[in-house]
């Protein structure tokens, strides 16, 4: 039997840690069981993925040992000198030593100045994404999209459009100092022992390894307010004398008047936990109508014609031989949802006991099912039958109870 799956792609998904659908997992499981070649391919691709870390790595961290100047190599002491060392000569007996020392000192000074100037001109960040006007460490996000910056310690800053900031690099004890002068920034700070600081006109945020957002808000009669929200880790905010620590999920606006607090300043709610989907059968079954009511039909299932991707294979296998209750989709609907079609209702009403049907069903609560989709032929059949009956005995126009009763002109007269 041929399968629609690209097995290599399923292996790639599996190795990428992505969730396969139950149908994909089951198909891959069976295929791996049967075909040693596919198992070999999985083994090779898994090995290559593991090996890729060695092949693509830029470099491994190399520990550096700094030896104090006082420590000398013991070998030099142990080796017996072949020549008798000369007695030390006093500096005043070497006339060239003063000019040489002066020249060397001058050279060191010049090299130091050049290195300092170069390091001062070099920006302590790189632009990963976005359009930016940059001069030295000063940047302005010039496009309508945010810009992403990566700093020398691996920390990242995403600055909103029109934000201006200065990346100062290492300053004193802080490994990075960023001055945010306008706009907003989202910071993802690499973990390291030294502090990371964001300086703004409204206050300062000090942090050790975390992810947070800082936003400067203009106010009409007051200096700019600073909104800080923390995604991970912990930050300490010092804003015009107000010192506060914020933890994960916490947000606070510093320097804002109470009435200016915006409605969205609620604590971010954690995303609702995904409920485990219970196994259901959804698909097309073939069978015989063995009973019916106003809005449901009982079908003795002979076979499963097809099952949908979300159907549990075990349940699909158990369908033949079962008698299932299939209901018409209910009239209950939420506000804004389209009105339920009457065609499934008409279809069920026209079905006769003993009639053979193929029907798309979806399992709802418990063991009950609901009509999924009727195909065009079924829908036409349901409607055609009604028209024919209607031709013989025209129906009275249904009255809408919510509308006012039809006026009888005679009564009014």
């Amino acid at each position: 039997m041929s399968h629609p799956w690209d097995w290599d792609y399923l292996i790639h998904k599996h190795l990428s840690g992505e969730e396969l659908t139950e149908e994909q997992r089951s198909a891959l499981n069976d295929r791996l069981r049967k075909f040693p070649r596919l198992r070999k391919r999985l083994a090779e691709m898994a090995f290559e993925q593991a090996q890729m870390r060695d092949v693509l790595a830029t470099s491994e961290g190399v520990p550096i040992l700094i030896v104090p100047d006082t420590v000398r190599e013991p070998a030099a002491v142990a080796a017996a000198p072949l020549l008798k060392p000369l007695p030390p000569i006093p500096w005043y007996r070497r006339p060239w030593i003063l000019p040489a020392a002066a020249a060397a000192g001058f050279l060191v000074l010049v090299l130091g100045i050049v290195a300092w100037r170069n390091s001062a001109n070099r920006a302590p960040f790189e632009v990963v994404k976005g359009e930016v006007r940059a001069e030295g460490g000063s940047v302005e996000v010039s496009a309508a999209a945010p810009a992403l910056f990566r700093m020398s310690d691996g920390s990242e800053a995403e600055l909103s459009p029109s934000s201006t900031a200065v990346f100062r690099g290492r300053v004193g004890d802080a490994r990075q100092v960023v001055e945010l002068n306008a706009g907003a920034g989202r910071f993802k700070v690499a973990k390291a022992p030294d502090t990371f600081k964001i300086e703004t006109p409204a206050g300062r945020v000090t942090v050790l390894g975390t992810e947070f957002t800082v936003e400067l808000r203009k106010q009409k009669k007051r200096p700019a307010a600073m909104a800080v929200s923390v995604t991970e880790g912990r930050v300490r905010v010092d804003a015009r004398g107000e010192v506060r620590e914020l933890g994960p999920g916490e947000r606070h606006v510093f320097g804002a008047e109470p009435e200016e607090k915006r409605p969205e300043e609620k604590k971010p709610q954690p995303p609702p936990e995904r409920k485990e989907a219970r196994p259901v059968f959804n698909g097309v079954v073939r069978g015989k109508v063995v009973g019916k009511g106003d809005a449901h039909v009982l079908i003795a299932v002979d076979a499963v014609v097809s099952s949908r991707k979300d159907a549990a294979p075990d349940l699909a296998a158990a369908m033949p031989g079962r008698t299932i209750k299939v209901m018409v989709p209910g009239p209950k609907r939420k506000e804004g949802e389209p009105e339920v079609s009457k065609i499934p209702f008409l279809y069920v009403r026209k079905l006769a006991i003993g009639q053979e049907v193929s029907l798309d069903v979806r399992q709802t609560k418990g063991e009950d099912f609901m009509i999924g989709e009727l195909d065009r032929e079924q829908a036409d059949w349901a409607v055609r039958e009604e028209r024919r009956e209607g031709d013989k005995e025209p129906k009275k126009k249904a009255r809408d109870p919510e509308k006012s009763p039809e006026r009888d002109p005679k009564k009014e007269d």
Binding site: N29, L32, K40, A46
Partner: protein, 173 residues
């Protein structure tokens, strides 16, 4: 097995054993944790093992048991793994390859990776060395998640095909 031999073998076959665990569990982080447990178990059991035992075969036995225990510990239904017999068969396919064949494959992969463009190389490095999520990489490159995933898949296939071609050449395998 002597301690030096065990350490040497663990260093030599680290990627093979990691790949074996990864193939079974489909989750790289879990595979790395399991490899650590495996190394601890091997250290404990080294004295019961012959000096010249087939190291990957020994690792396979431990790996299968570790993956079964790992699966039991996690709630049923949340872990997607293969059936027990398939797990064993997948681990066995690592053993079927001669241990030296993995070295040849690693060398071929190194040569093939050198031919990648800087852009592709960076993408693979960010994804598979730095473990950056696909969503984040897609956002960085202004691509949809699906498009980025397809790009990664094509790159991996191209690399795999290149490796296979190199291994066909005389003197490589």
């Amino acid at each position: 097995m002597r301690e030096e031999t065990l350490v040497k073998n663990l260093l030599t076959y680290k990627r093979v054993l990691e790949g074996m665990l990864h193939a079974m569990v489909g989750d790289r982080a879990a595979a790395e944790d399991l490899f650590q447990e495996m190394a601890v178990l091997m250290t404990r059991k080294r004295e019961e093992t012959d000096e010249d035992c087939k190291f990957v075969a020994w690792g396979r036995q431990i790996a299968v048991n570790l993956v079964r225990d790992w699966r039991k510990k996690l709630a049923r239904g949340k872990v997607q793994t293969f059936d027990d017999d398939v797990l064993e068969a997948v681990a066995g396919s690592f053993e079927a390859n001669a241990e030296s064949a993995w070295d040849a494959r690693a060398e071929a992969l190194r040569i093939c990776a050198e031919k990648l463009s800087d852009k592709d190389r960076t993408l693979l490095r960010r994804r598979y060395e730095e473990s950056v999520p696909v969503e984040k990489l897609a956002a960085e490159r202004s691509m949809s998640r699906g498009a980025l995933d397809t790009t990664l898949y094509r790159l991996r296939r191209a690399l795999h095909d290149c490796v296979e071609m190199r291994l066909q050449q005389p003197g490589m395998s």
